[in-house]
Symmetry: none
């Protein structure tokens, strides 16, 4: 079972169908059948409803009512929490480039030496 909001958000984002729905909603409001259209060859409408429920429970979208349609809108707030959580780790992917760079420089130097002295390892 999952109670904390960050887990709920990450879990909702861990599905490509749901991420595609968010991507669509980032271009503007859309109702359920609009959102379903790209996926109806792969899955049924009830499956879509379920995915939307997951997004809704995570607070990533909101649904309203307009006649028989349910227009959905993206809500970025939970993504703010993800972004805040990510910040503490930024150094670990920016640093890796430095290390790779340093490593490549080392290898190059070593290689040059090896060539000169005809030695390996």
């Amino acid at each position: 079972m999952m109670q904390d909001t960050l887990s709920l958000t990450f879990s909702a984002l861990s599905d490509p169908t749901r991420r595609a729905m968010l991507a669509r909603l980032s271009k503007g409001e859309a109702n359920v059948s609009d959102l379903a259209k790209p996926f109806l060859k792969d899955m049924s409408l009830p499956a879509i409803t379920k995915h939307l429920k997951v997004l809704e429970k995570a607070g990533l979208i909101t649904k309203s009512r307009e006649a028989q349609w349910r227009p959905c809108r993206i809500n970025g707030e939970p993504l703010k929490n993800v972004s805040d959580w990510m910040e503490q780790y930024r150094v670990f992917w920016e640093e890796s480039f430095d290390r790779l760079d340093a490593y490549l420089k080392t290898v190059t130097k070593k290689d040059l030496k090896e060539k000169k002295h005809g030695r390996k390892k």
Copy 2:
């Protein structure tokens, strides 16, 4: 089933135990029993092993061997992918609510116009 790397990463991050392990590893290398210690009142060691396997398969940590210990290190690369994915949504949490609201209303108006003049898309 989950094949794409982004889904794998989000899924690995959707558990508070695993995020706590990452937080611990962000302070430096640690072996399995170090990582387990804060959780042994809540779960068994095999449960810890499984969580670490999830993190490892997502590429978020690497494990090496040192005598009977398995020192683990964080690997930030998958988080870079998450960060890149997140960028397209930054506008939805970072801009003022008024501006975001205005933006969404614009998109909605366009959609309504399209509806008025007949078919969408």
